[in-house]
């Protein structure tokens, strides 16, 4: 068996990433999990968070996903993201605007699930922005 995972990240709009990597860490709904070659068949939904891609030793890439699904098999790992942005491209003011918009929506309609999800996404983005690079 190959010592690489065929990792693919797709959003509804396009195929964002498709390459062989050493391993990836995916933010599952019930906790982060890492996918290495030979992973057991596994399906999980995602929470907003960062996908860490590790290749060639220490080199890591961070990609923010706003939720979606991940599938792991012994050979590959496929992430179907609702929205995905490289951490380096996150823009603080844009996110803060999203956060405040979502808060307003939530005040107007406290039961709006979409607004709740939007707020969670924005907050996770901010956390990602703060946490990434320091760890």
């Amino acid at each position: 068996m190959a010592d690489k995972v065929a990792f693919e990240l797709v959003s509804p709009e396009k195929l964002l990433l498709s390459r062989d990597v050493d391993f990836v860490v995916v933010p599952g709904a019930e906790g982060d999990f890492a996918v290495l070659p030979g992973h057991a068949p596994f399906l999980s939904s995602l929470r907003p968070g960062i996908i860490e891609i590790h290749e060639e030793g220490n080199e890591t890439t961070g990609l923010f996903v706003a939720g979606g699904f991940a599938e792991a098999t012994p050979e590959r790992c496929t992430v179907l993201a609702n929205e995905a942005i490289p951490v380096a491209d996150l823009d603080r003011s844009g996110i803060e605007r999203r956060q405040s918009n979502a808060k307003e929506d939530l005040q107007a309609h406290p039961d709006d699930d979409a607004a709740k999800a939007e707020l969670a996404t924005a907050e996770a983005m901010l956390a990602a922005l703060d946490g990434w690079g320091k760890a």
């Binding site: 509804p12 396009k14 195929l15 057991a40 596994f42 939904s45 699904f69 599938e71 496929t78």
Partner: protein
């Protein structure tokens, strides 16, 4: 014989029609490029989603308890047809061929004694189906192709369809759209979405070792509850994207033909015009000459 003036007027009117059709061709060509890129960019997601749901469906332990979206309601009484057409005409046989496929499908289903309901996406299909099957149309969604098609548009349509499903309004859902092959070829595609038709044979050919049972996180039911509506939206989104690209392709071809036909017509009319003009001149010369001879 038409007078010279009549001919001139006709030539001019054909020429201005030609200008319009060639402009429309240009517009369609540039829109096509964008729509095609979008459709092709959307394919990987839909394919992966297909694969994921497909392998999930195969490895389901408890098929009976699976969500209705996957296995259906257990009967096949009422069929919902989602007919995806364009909002605008002048794109050749694009809309009529979808509608023809839809009609054929409706007749076949009705002959089998099933109930049929129609959901029209796009104005043209609704207009064409209204005449024969007006009372079967349960909902219509217009003007989605005005802006750039976004995932939210698909979500909007899906939520309407799923609401109908929740109310037990239908048992089987099929979407009819044009699959984009190339700018000059579109393939009418009918795809059953509820209950899900899994491309089983293909799945097993490519991955013989993957009959292994998946582990789920969160629990199987909860995950399926999230994944299936998502899959449904994705498939609708894919259909809409393919359709939008096909529409522009069909329009481009149609307008190209129209421009060429107009050119041929202009050539013919111009020939006719010149002949008539020459005939007039000859006639006038004869008149002058014979008038001079008579003196």
């Amino acid at each position: 014989m038409p007078s010279l003036k009549d001919l001139r007027i006709r030539i001019n009117s054909v020429r201005s029609t030609q200008k319009i059709t060639s402009a429309m061709k240009m517009v369609a060509a540039s829109k096509l490029r964008r729509a095609q890129e979008q459709a092709e960019a959307g394919r990987p997601y839909a394919d992966r989603m297909d694969r994921m749901v497909g392998s999930l469906a195969q490895s389901l332990e408890n098929f009976e308890a699976a969500p209705k979206l996957l296995v259906g309601t257990g009967k096949e009484e009422t069929h919902l047809l989602v007919v995806a057409t364009s909002d605008r005409g002048l794109c050749g046989a694009f809309n009529s061929s979808i509608v023809r496929a839809a009609r054929r499908r409706i007749r076949a289903l009705q002959n089998d004694g099933k109930n049929v309901k129609i959901l029209c996406v796009g104005r043209k299909g609704q207009l064409q189906l209204k005449r024969d099957y007006g009372r079967l149309i349960v909902d219509r969604i217009d003007e989605i192709s005005k802006r750039r098609l976004s995932f939210n548009d698909a979500e909007d349509i899906t939520s309407r369809i799923l609401a109908l499903f929740e109310q037990d309004e239908f048992d089987v859902c099929t979407v009819i759209y044009n699959h984009f092959e190339s700018p000059i070829s579109q393939v009418i595609t009918e795809r059953q979405l509820i209950p899900l038709s899994v491309p089983e044979a293909e799945e097993q050919k490519t991955e013989p070792g993957l009959s292994a049972i998946y582990e789920y996180e969160p629990e199987e039911e909860e995950l399926l509850g999230q994944l299936l509506p998502r899959n449904f939206t994705v498939q609708i989104y894919r259909a809409l994207l393919e359709n939008a690209a096909s529409e522009q392709g069909a329009r481009m071809t149609a307008m190209d033909n129209a421009t060429r036909n107009a050119g041929e017509l202009i050539d013919k009319l111009t020939l006719n015009y010149n002949r008539t003009r020459q005939a007039y001149i000859t006639k006038e010369l004869i008149e002058i000459v014979s008038g001079a001879e008579a003196l």
